[in-house]
Amino acid sequence: MTRVDVHPEDLLDAAHRGELDDAQRARLAQHTAHCAACAAEVALIDDFDVLDQPGDEALIDRLVEGAIGQAPPVEARPTRKTAAGAGRTILYAVAASLLLGAFGGAAAAMFAMWPARVAEEEPAPEPTVTLPEEEPPPARRARRRVVEAPVEEEIVEEEIVEEAPEPEPEARPARIPSAEELLAAANRARRDHRYPQAVRLYRRLQTAHPRSREAALSHVTLGRLLLDGTHDPRGALREFERYLAQGRHRVLDEEARVGRALALMRLGRREEERRAWRELLAHHPDTLHAERANSRAQ
């Protein structure tokens, strides 16, 4: 095979947009006739052209619903002593110095210190729920971070990020984490591959908030985790069946049915698996898993 190391990417771009004239088309054809990589690129762009499938809209709805549940809150810009804050402190100090003559040094010094202390204490920390199941994160970690500046330049600054929430004051009564918080913590553990911890958190969610929507959905997520993450098809099957037993026409029915069939496949329960695939095809004829379902249902 002839080696051609210089690839006419500009011609390839124009070809993709349908903007080649005859001469350019001939040049590109001459090149791709001998350059396997460019011939592959041209062919692959066409090969990947059709990736949309019927039923995508419903699938996207489900994916977005799940993603919104897992999405972190939009990060607020870090609050620190700003120029305006510093200015306020100076203003207080000037006021204090003006007062010095009138009220004496001690009073003025206290006045000057007060706003500075307030500035150090701001902002009041958000109340944080610490989930005892979560592994303790490192206490403090320095990381470099790009902070968007109001003008067009980037300010790269060293910032200490408080990773661990401050411990709750002892006097404050412990709060049971909400279903949303438990689901978020479980999903986080799952994404970080802390599977045993994720399993515990999903189960805790199901026990603590059995009637919540999060608990209902968690049966499918936990099922997939047990199936693919911890290789426990029996446990996975139980979770999928619990989800399906909750009622008809639920949002993750299709996923639960696919999971159930896969769990039965891994358990080697062939006849039940066949029935499960048939059931999937009957309820969801447009399923993305139709090819596999048809093949396994035979």
Binding site: T2, H7, D13, A36, A40, A43, D47, L51, D228
Partner: protein, 210 residues
């Protein structure tokens, strides 16, 4: 909100067109989402869903068991990154870049897990599936290549080949100089060429002269 987008030059040889001001309909949604509006975030992710799903299917294959996980992880990553969007490319390109990176990572993770599982169970790797169509052979070859390329090259290849981005669009989406993108494309195509040389079935689908 207006964004700087590329006006593609009429002359194909000129790939450094000047920027034009156009309105990105998703930029306003992104801005609202970035200020904490969850409804706007949901609408934004729905609007980006088709692109994200396309990237996930392109990188993993439609029947890969983790394709939906990859798409959802991409959406979560996009939601987490909206605060860093600086309007230097379209919102869709920004999202595709995040999805490309995430989906390649999911594919690599799935492969590593599969290999580990096989090692533990002493199961030999499965024989390669019988090729069906030339397009499928080429797609699978590209996906296998993505598992081995350096991250930036893999990301560039996904944007260029799976999503059909021009060099300039890849440069904007990845925030890299165009010559860096050229270099990444060249290196990834070299790897692709080596793979084609090693695989006669793949070479046959391309009808390239020897």
């Amino acid at each position: 909100m207006t964004l700087r987008l590329l006006a593609l030059g009429s002359a194909p040889e000129s790939r450094h067109p000047g920027p034009v001001e156009v309105t990105d309909p998703l930029a306003r949604l992104l801005s609202e989402a970035a200020s904490g509006d969850r409804v706007a975030l949901s609408r934004l992710l729905r609007a980006l869903g088709p692109q994200v799903l396309r990237v996930a299917r392109g990188v993993l294959g439609s029947s890969h068991p983790e394709v939906e996980d990859a798409a959802q992880e991409s959406l979560v990553a996009i939601a987490g990154a909206i605060g860093s969007f600086r309007g230097e490319c379209s919102v869709k390109h920004f999202a595709c870049r995040i999805a490309a990176r995430k989906c390649v990572a999911v594919r690599r993770r799935a492969k590593a897990r599969d290999e580990r599982r096989r090692e533990l169970a002493s199961i030999p790797p499965p024989p390669p599936a019988a090729p069906t169509t030339p397009a499928r052979i080429r797609r699978e070859a590209l996906r296998a290549l993505l598992e081995t390329l350096p991250e930036e090259q893999a990301e560039t290849l996904v944007l260029r080949v799976v999503m059909g981005f021009s060099l300039a669009e890849v440069a904007e989406a990845t925030d890299a100089p165009i010559n860096t993108v050229r270099s990444r494309v060249r290196l990834s195509k070299e790897a692709l060429r080596r793979r084609i040389e090693e695989d006669p079935a793949l070479a046959e689908t391309l009808e390239v002269g020897t």
